[in-house]
């Protein structure tokens, strides 16, 4: 496979055009179970795409198939137009950061970073220089001689990132690299990954089950369910225009209220709301409404406050309607409803997604 720039001595990140990755109809079966079921996704050059989904949705399988760590049952995967389905992992030229700590315990941080360069037969002096530069990029230039057991979890994942990037791979694969870290480090490293990715312009596939993470860093988010992509779009699109109630529920918090669709409008508690998908047929539906799309008013829907919790920059209040339905509201911290208080609610009129009641448990709807 001479086409791969494995031994390219000094490819500069800026001179390297971004890589396009394309999954076409990829199927992966594990002993009869379909982890990927005709999976299609295109990663544009230099794009940061997050694969988001609950566990078992096939997101990690998609990443591992791209890395070559799993074979495909059917379908093709191309990198810059070249099919790599049968290429071994070691020749795919990818950088990968794993969920579990994956530094080689017998090597120092610097030697870990040098490993990929050593495999590419780069001379020791250059190897050391590039490893040091890569460690500096993740802010650990003074940790060259430390071993994994002397580093914190966050530092280990930084070294793993430096190790994945030092060979200047065509694609960066991140397999839930933050899930083992505590909340504060997670946010720091998340933002740093995004900064480095933007600087290098490297095409990146990021697998996560944490919607906040996906929405915060990705150019586009692909939400997966049962081996397939349910919806792919920018974080804003997914949040404000969820194609299905599954997305509405999975991306952000949603209230689910029974209502009806009548002439392209959803009706809940006497309020008519616009639909995200105007083609929704008439009938009984379950409507998904974001907690920030319900607000307190002087008159309207009467409810009793159940609880209200302070979440830093906002406050989330739980209320019970007269018919017993529980709703969540999100609002400014200066409004402080007390439990037991009677309040009135109104809907802001933001477009909503619906789910036909008869088809609640059926297969994914049309995107």
């Amino acid at each position: 496979m001479t086409a791969l720039p494995l031994n390219n001595p000094q490819p500069t990140a800026s001179a390297r055009p971004g890589t396009v990755v394309e999954f076409t109809g990829v199927v992966k079966e594990f002993s009869g179970m379909r982890a990927l079921d005709g999976f299609n996704l295109t990663l544009h050059a230099g794009e940061f795409v997050a694969l988001l989904g609950p566990s078992g949705s096939g997101k990690t399988t998609a990443l591992r198939v791209l890395a070559g760590l799993e074979s495909t049952t059917a379908g093709s995967i191309t990198i810059d137009g070249v099919d790599v389905s049968t290429l071994s992992t070691s020749k795919r030229d990818m950088g990968m950061v794993f969920q579990s700590y994956s530094l080689f315990p017998h090597l120092s941080a610097g030697e870990n970073v040098e490993f990929g360069l050593r495999m590419r037969k780069i001379k020791p002096a250059e190897r050391r220089r590039r490893a040091a530069a890569s460690l500096a990029m993740v802010g650990l230039d003074d940790h060259f001689d430390r071993f994994a057991h002397q580093l914190s979890g966050g530092q280990q994942q930084r070294v793993a990132l430096a190790r994945a990037l030092v060979t200047e791979p065509r694609v960066l694969l991140l397999d839930e690299p933050l899930s083992a870290l505590d909340a504060k480090v997670r946010v720091q490293l998340r933002d740093e990954i995004r900064r480095i990715q933007t600087e290098l312009g490297i095409t990146t596939l990021f697998v996560t089950h944490d919607q906040d993470e996906a929405l915060a860093v990705a150019d586009r988010v692909a939400v997966m369910r049962a081996g397939n992509i349910e919806q792919v779009g920018t974080p804003e699109e997914l949040y404000s225009r969820p194609a299905t109630p599954f997305i509405a529920d999975f991306v952000g918090l949603s209230n689910r209220i029974d209502g009806v669709v009548r002439s392209a409008r959803a009706e809940v508690y006497g309020t008519k709301l616009p639909l995200i998908d105007p083609a929704t047929p008439d009938g009984a539906v379950r409507v998904s409404i974001r907690p920030e799309d319900i607000e307190f008013a002087l008159e309207g829907l009467a409810a009793t406050v159940v609880a209200s919790s302070f979440l830093g920059s906002l406050r989330r209040t739980t209320v019970r309607l007269v018919d017993g339905t529980i709703l969540f509201l999100q609002h400014g911290v200066r409004v402080r409803p007390a439990a037991g208080e009677t309040v009135f609610l109104k809907f802001t009129g933001a477009p909503v997604s619906t789910e036909q009641l008869a088809a609640v448990s059926a297969a994914p709807q049309q995107p």
Partner: protein, 282 residues
Amino acid sequence: MSGGFTAGGVAHAPSRTVRTVILGLVGLIFAVPIVAMIEFTLRAGLVGGYNVDRWVALFQSGFTGVYRPVLVALGNSVALAIGTVVIVLLLLVPTMLLVHIRFPRLRRGLEFICILPITIPAIVLVVGLAPVYAIVARLLGSGVWTLAFAYGITVLPFAYRAIQSNLDGVDVKTLTEAARTLGAGWGSILVRVLVPNLRRGILAGAFIAVAVVLGEFTIASLLNRVNLQTALVVVSKVDPYTAVILSLLALAFAFLLLLVIGRLGAPRTRTSRRRTTVKGPA
């Protein structure tokens, strides 16, 4: 011993005194027979009293005469130990890695097969091995070294446990996958990633193999091969005092041998680097 404590579990580790006491007791148990052997070789006949005459006589004779075969037998046993270690390294280690990484379902079966030899008495084993060795002798000759095949089987349970416990403590799958994404082929993975991280288990397995082979008597004796133990028995029938001296020397030799193997296999020293303090979380 400290079997009830978790490996490396510093929080539950016994205190320094407890450790010293345990170590002292175990040491004492091992020391008693050795001291008794030394005492025996120093006895000056039936009248009582002690001298070093027998030691001096043995060394002055330069291991000639009746003792000569013991040296030859020692050579045989060392060669057998090396052969057995080679079998463990070239057959057992790769098999275990392959099963661990690629065929995890076979693990139970492999474990069963490897533990099996410990449940079979050596005498029973020989009954089965005798006809096999008739064929081996026809194909490869009846050299002593062929015993290494049998010893390769008898050390399986010990070597397997030693390596497996190390294998369980290392995330072999992730390390292997990480190395693959970094461009390493299977050869590089084995040499540069797996062996260095399994060094302790492999070394322990080799240690035990050497120790078992140097102490083996039954199989060699029943298959009419000469090794250290069978030669010592021959000598002890002629001169029990000298046999004990030779046993002590063999013990010292085995001890030195294990020490050397440990030195050769020890990772490069990094004590000075290890002392650097660990920083808090990033």
